[in-house]
Symmetry: C2
Subunit: 403 residues, 2 copies
């Protein structure tokens, strides 16, 4: 019998307790032994909660109880989550987390500590919610050289962009709708500015290529600048606008990593991932493109990913998995984003079609009027495009990706 | 250092050797020790092949060599593959196979034998080629009760149905095109009659619900009866026609399992899986729908799945995984297909709209002429629909699924 502690009893934490209770029999069968939730760390008053007897307010009670072998961290945020997780690993407890901020910021350090203590640090739920991606990326695709990953990693922004495309609505009103429906938080900054997607692509990049990439190393652009006109012009040209997190291994050994809005052809499998769904495309030298698709967030999907990790931590007790990467420093690993080569969707204000084509020869003109010219350029270096656009009123500048 | 034997040196077998050679360094790193292909079993003359020195013609050489710890079976067919795999497991060698016929027919028996011998029997490549599905289904979704699986499991038929929809072409000419392009075999029976998809849904059903389902227990219908008119009428009504393998756990404890053409709404994620791609939807009580999408066949995708299994077999040496199901007999487990409840797409010859609606009240009429009436019925029992259709010239009778 293994005893477990849950730190955090919000949406995900209560979901974890619920999945444990509901699917207890099959969970025990899969883990190979009895499992019990011994403690739930939560400061709020939980009087009347079915798990009231398990609630503790003092972390020390968990970390100092040798009977607890697996700790679930679903508090979110960096502190005190980081400190608690570190202390648990140091005490030889395996840790399972859904906290993308924690993994993106301290994954390499915590993985190394876990290995030193011969325990496991698992985080399937930190990317893609209920979509299995961390383990397939690591294990099932082990015989591939992964060359590229690109994903719709944030459900809130995907909901907004989908609604803008389907309803012809603007960004601000759609954001308000998303907030009313509970798909966007009251402070939506982390979602709409791309920070959430950035943390997730950092985790995927670190795992796929074995070297930690920190969020502040990534060029990030959110969707607040996307207008109704961008979305409808893109649709007219055969593209959907999506917020894409992507990383590509370059021949130099460096990685090109970015989060930004992008035009994706309607035929692409990523373009048909709509609403709050997430989709992650993994490009391997042998498998070609494999796409994982599902609900990227939500109480029960995320909780089920956490519980699956708990089962694996129980089964792996005493052995350390090879799910691992290291911090090899920041220098010289992330390529200058100005060197990124893609096509671009540009809307230039007060620029004639002739002048636009003179600036960007070989472009496809989508619309031209005295007010603006919209065009799709050939593949160019991002830095070069920005040079050419100096002094030109640029209404939109969005990369075009070919996934 | 672990030594490996490959049985079969056709498309997949040569792909396995190629992936091993190409990604050797990272494979060894992931496996945690050196790996070497010692033998390749092949009867054809392989003079001049880069692996010529490893070719052997006698299976006994492999099974009797204690240095070989993992055997890859990529010969296909039931015999001698079954006999060889059984002999290898009995000698305490782990076996990795891509042979869906073998797993669908003898999975329970071979898994039990492997367990008794404390070795592993892995078969990720048997379903979905390079798409990771067996392991995610087993491991990452461990905390879910899986309720349903539905998939486009055969690339050949999906290519044909996609072409028929996009080009407005008939079945026979599209099959010939598929053969010319190498997407269909000269004898395409196993693909177009649904047998290949049947084997794959049997494997998924056995794994998901823990009890072996044999191919001959499954109601199977291929795509040879699908006409150009079916496809275009379905498209007009908002549906794609796909060959779907599906299994659902019923409250009775039985399973409803079938392979048949089906109408799928254009908005469904399965509907946008086109050409030779495969897609598998797994419905869990906690995760909701998760879809896995990618190339379902092909030399390198399949080979990479095989090699990933080899790595796992090496890492798991001495322990037996919980990827397992048993043969609990055939009686009373597979539900009578006549009890399947879905909506139906019907084209009735020489039946007026009035008579069609009298037979199937509440239906949506798609077209009506003196020659035929086409309609979408409400949800009905399949057996009841067949009763009602007795004596009525039925041009088409295709189920409508809501994935």
């Amino acid at each position: 019998m293994k005893q477990i502690a849950i730190m955090g009893y919000g949406v995900v934490g209560s979901g974890v307790a619920e999945v444990f209770a509901k699917n207890h029999e099959s969970i025990v069968k899969k883990a190979g032994e009895e499992l019990e939730i011994k403690y739930i760390l939560e400061r709020r008053d939980c009087t009347g909660d079915p798990n009231e007897a398990k609630i503790v307010r003092d972390f020390e009670q968990i970390v100092n109880d040798p009977a607890v072998s697996v700790v679930v961290e679903v508090m979110g945020g960096l502190h005190p989550a980081y400190d608690f997780v570190k202390a648990c690993l140091e005490q030889g407890k395996s840790v399972v987390t859904s906290n993308k901020e924690l993994v993106a910021q301290a994954g390499a350090e915590l993985l190394e500590l876990a290995r030193a203590k011969n325990v496991n640090f698992f985080f399937e739920a930190s990317v893609g919610g209920g979509i299995p991606i961390i383990r397939p990326l690591h294990s099932c695709l082990a015989a591939n050289e992964i060359t590229e990953i690109a994903g719709i990693l944030n459900g809130t922004t995907n909901f907004i962009l989908t609604k803008m495309a389907h309803e012809g609505a603007g960004f601000d009103e759609t954001l308000r709708l998303a907030q009313q429906l509970g798909y966007a938080e009251r402070d939506p900054t982390a979602d709409i500015e791309g920070l959430d997607a950035c943390r997730k692509i950092c985790i995927l990049a670190s795992l796929a290529f074995g070297r930690h990439v920190y969020p502040d190393q990534v060029a990030v652009q959110g969707i607040t600048g996307i207008s109704r006109e961008d979305v409808s012009l893109a649709a007219f040209a055969g593209y959907a606008v999506k917020l894409i997190g992507r990383v590509k291994k370059l021949e130099s050994g460096r990685v090109m990593i970015a989060v930004s809005p992008a035009l994706i052809e309607h035929e692409s499998q990523l373009a048909s991932i709509n609403d709050v769904f997430n989709g992650i495309l993994v490009r391997g030298d042998a498998t070609g493109d494999v796409v994982f698709y599902g609900k990227g967030a939500g109480k029960l999907p995320t909780a089920s990913a956490v519980v699956a990790d708990v089962i694996d931590a129980v089964k792996a007790a005493g052995t350390v998995g090879s799910l691992y990467w290291t911090d090899q420093g920041r220098e010289g690993y992330v390529e200058d984003p100005a060197k990124d080569e893609t096509a671009f969707f540009l809307r230039l204000g007060g620029v004639s079609q002739e002048k636009a084509l003179a600036l960007f020869p070989g472009s496809r003109v989508l619309s031209a009027s005295p007010e603006e010219t919209a065009l799709l350029t050939p593949v160019l270096e991002k830095g070069r495009v920005e040079e050419l656009l100096q002094g030109i009123p640029t209404l939109s500048n969005i990369c075009v990706l070919d996934y």
